[in-house]
């Protein structure tokens, strides 16, 4: 179709790719617009015929439904927007704790699949296969009705010596926690300071070892002292409070988690952990064999080999995939509805049942989850930039 001479024959329009490109796009756009206007037109007509309108004014009306647990004070007369806020905070409380725990479990299980202990390797594999091949909702029901309700009775039951579980009114799972007293808070602050100091010391030690050929012993001793002090602070400074059963049959002290929260947290953490384990396994497998061999040739033992050579490189493969697992955890937290934990979806669903406003409620739900996922994505992308290969 290249021009061959001055009197080039024009290509007929139906054989011109450019024409079809534009025509196809116009058609696609028109089809989508037509579809959407038809759907929303129908919706508006239906709403009008029922005397309803599309607006968000209802958010100011009193919600008049009860919410089982809340981090901020909430009463039944409070407006709908506050009910949403309570649900949102409950969701955040669930997913942030979930991220931390599931990462720990996933990394452990992933590394365990490379263990040279046959039993450890098999347990990790069985865990992953079992969890990934059964539905999450079934697992959640098993955690809630099977495990939690199997353990919780009317009398507080003690587990692992320090945890209590009871299903009486105001019951739940009680774990040891530190009190909010000034001494405890001070210790907490000191622990954070110690962690920062440890990182600085470690960097300094590497720096002097690399640039001055120093032994780095003074820094190592300082690190050890810091470690011992931190351990003391952790055990004695934080003023741990252990839950105790009361004579009335309840439990006081410690941190109370509701049964629903404990069940959905356990379910989400173990479910997502299996997926993260697979990602970690694949990431470690992606590190080329030469790296392992080079590390061994340098005389590194297996622990250092994993920590210094393999794992940092595996992280480059792992982090982008972790992103989608965290998003899945955030989205799956909406299953809390099924076992009655009042998360954002659950409160929104109750709101819909009371107000009969599907479009507004759906927009609120979708906007919330899209925002949460966007935040996760941004955070993970900046983390990814920190570990990715710096090519010069």
């Amino acid at each position: 179709m290249t021009p061959t001479g001055d009197r080039e024959e024009r290509i007929p329009i139906w054989r011109d790719q450019r024409f079809w490109n534009i025509a196809f796009q116009v058609l696609a756009l028109a089809a989508v617009i037509l579809l959407l206007t038809t759907l929303f037109g129908n919706a508006l007509r239906t709403l009008q015929s029922q005397g309803r309108q599309f607006n968000f004014d209802f958010l100011g009306n009193p919600a008049s439904f009860n919410i089982g647990e809340s981090v901020i004070p909430y009463q039944t007369q409070d407006p709908y927007w506050k009910a949403f806020l309570v649900g949102l905070l409950n969701t955040l409380r669930l997913i942030v704790v979930g991220f931390v725990l599931t990462t720990i479990i996933g990394i452990f299980a992933g590394i365990a699949s490379f263990s040279n202990n046959w039993l450890v390797k098999k347990i990790s594999q069985v865990y992953v296969e079992l969890i990934r091949n059964t539905p999450l909702l079934l697992q959640l029901f098993a955690w809630y009705f099977g495990v939690i309700f199997g353990l919780a009775g009317d009398q507080p039951r003690r587990l692992l010596r320090a945890i209590f579980i009871t299903k009486r009114q105001g019951g739940g799972v009680f774990i040891p926690w530190f009190t909010g007293e000034p001494v405890s808070l001070t210790s907490f602050g000191l622990l954070i300071a110690a962690a920062i100091a440890a990182v600085v010391l470690w960097r300094w030690r590497i720096h002097v070892m690399e640039t001055q050929g120093a032994s780095g012993q003074p820094q190592a001793i300082a690190l050890a002292v810091l470690g011992i002090v931190s351990i003391f602070l952790f055990f004695f400074g934080l003023a741990w409070q252990f839950p105790q059963p009361t004579e009335a049959g309840g439990v006081t002290g410690g941190l109370r988690m509701s049964l629903e929260y404990a069940a959905i947290l356990a379910g989400l953490v173990f479910y997502t952990g299996a997926f993260i384990a697979e990602i970690v396994r694949a990431g470690i497998q992606a590190v080329s064999k030469g790296q392992w061999e080079a590390g061994r040739a340098l005389g590194l033992d297996a622990g250092k080999l994993m920590r210094l050579i393999v794992f940092p490189q595996a992280l480059r493969v792992i982090i982008p995939s972790l992103n989608s697992q965290y998003m899945n955890l955030a989205k799956n937290s909406s299953l809390a509805l099924a076992i009655g934990y009042p998360d954002i979806y659950s409160t929104a669903s109750t709101t819909f049942n009371q107000t009969g406003r599907p479009i507004e409620v759906f927009i609120l739900i979708a906007a919330t989850y899209l925002t949460i996922n966007l935040v996760i994505s941004l955070a993970m992308n900046s983390l990814n930039r920190a570990v990715e290969l710096k090519e010069r």
């Binding site: 790719q17 196809f24 696609a28 239906t46 040279n116 202990n117 046959w118 079934l138 098993a142 739900i365």
Partner: protein, 404 residues
């Protein structure tokens, strides 16, 4: 977990010399820390195993399974119409057997050890399942049909060329037969979807959603990779919005908004709305899986196709898609597995699929508190299907692998 070793495909094969003791020493007691770990874990496993056995034989009341056997598998499908379900079962058994035989026509042995074990297990299940004698006989008959059809398929595969295409047609045609047998009409008593339930409904919803979401996902993936800005933008918007919200929110649309969006008086069946929701949801994820495959195709393939004079549509259909889909098979099957698992969410919107019917059984006062028995039972069913799908995916992957 003290030491780790690299994944080594080129490592020398494990030696069999030395026997059990050497194996134990190498894998469980190679240093003192591992030894302690092994002993501790073994003790824990023994304790867990003993407690489970004790529970299973003394505390558990398994009667909740046989008492509701029909409910788990077919829900409230009318009793006198069961023959239609058996006909479907037989049809699927014959077609599966034929496909298996035809696919395995060039292998050395049709009934390998694994295949025989699987058939044997099916047979044992047929004998011990707590159902009426006729059901058990029919089940065994279907297993025999499967084996016979596999043998016949192998013979056919040898004698008739191009039989593979016919079997694909047969599968497509069987879908309509199955629909007719399930729903009735055209001379059969019609059974409304409200009476379908249990595993039957789970399988129906998953199969239909998988069939529908696959083409939609491929189209979306192509749209996202397209050079046309409008098409690309629309695809990206759809994919990212759907992937950003939980499935339960999409089902919310299906339950509460679709009746609103459609012309007044048009209110599709609960089950079909659920299928629509699952399809719209899975297509977005599938599109991302296919996109991974599309991105892996080197540019040279497209340029070569252009050089051969193929237009864009033909290039996509004949050159790019076949290669891209082959690469993304594991991811696509993974998506199908999660779709199958996601059908459980329909129990929240009061559809009585396998988990939904289990919940309603557990709500029955005479079976209250029998959670573990029921959950273990249906957990095994879900696990089996997902495991079979992942094995199937590995098989297809291996058979399509043209690299040497």
């Amino acid at each position: 977990m003290t030491t780790t070793f690299p994944p080594s495909s080129s490592a020398p094969p494990a030696s069999n010399s030395g026997g059990l003791m050497a194996w134990l020493r190498k894998n469980l007691f190679n240093n003192w820390l591992n030894g302690i770990l092994t002993v501790a874990i073994s003790a824990m496993l023994v304790w867990v195993g003993m407690s489970f056995l004790e529970w299973a034989f003394t505390v558990a009341q398994w009667s909740v399974i046989p008492a509701n056997w029909q409910l788990y598998f077919v829900g409230r499908y009318p009793n006198d119409q069961y023959w239609r379900l058996w006909a479907i079962f037989g049809l699927v058994a014959i077609l599966s057997g034929l496909s298996w035989g035809i696919l395995a026509r060039n292998t050395a042995q049709l009934f390998t050890k694994t295949a025989l074990i699987c058939l044997g297990l099916l047979g044992v299940f047929g004998v011990i399942m707590p159902a009426p004698l006729t059901s058990r006989l029919l089940f065994l008959g279907a297993v025999i049909l499967l084996a016979a059809a596999a043998w016949g398929g192998r013979q056919l595969g040898h004698s008739v060329a191009g039989i593979g295409r016919w079997i694909s047609f047969a599968w497509i045609a069987s879908f309509f037969v199955v629909m007719w047998l399930l729903a009735g009409g055209f001379g059969l008593e019609s059974v409304s979807t409200g009476n379908w339930g249990g595993l039957l409904l789970t399988l129906f919803i998953s199969v239909v959603s998988i069939l529908l979401c696959f083409p939609m996902g491929v189209l979306l993936a192509l749209g996202r990779q397209s050079s046309l800005p409008v098409v690309r933008l629309l695809s990206v918007l759809y994919i990212e919005i759907i992937r950003g919200v939980p499935l339960i929110a999409i089902l919310f649309i299906g339950q509460n908004m679709i009746p609103l969006f459609l012309p007044q008086g048009m209110r599709p069946d609960n089950v079909y709305r659920a299928i629509l929701g699952l399809t719209l949801f899975s297509a977005a994820y599938l599109a991302e899986n296919v996109r991974g495959g599309l991105q892996a195709i080197p540019r040279g393939q497209m340029e070569a196709a252009h050089a051969l004079g193929l237009n864009p549509a033909l290039t996509t259909m004949l050159i790019i898609l076949p290669q891209a889909l082959k690469i993304s098979i594991p991811a696509i099957v993974g998506q199908f597995i999660s779709l199958f698992q996601d059908t459980t969410l329909l129990s929240i919107v009061s559809i009585l699929e396998l988990l939904g019917i289990s919940r309603s059984i557990l709500a029955n006062p005479s079976f209250i508190g029998r959670y573990w028995e029921v959950y273990l039972f249906i957990g095994v069913i879900y696990w089996l299907f997902c495991y079979l799908m992942s094995i199937g995916s590995r098989r297809i992957e291996a058979s399509l692998n043209t690299e040497h």
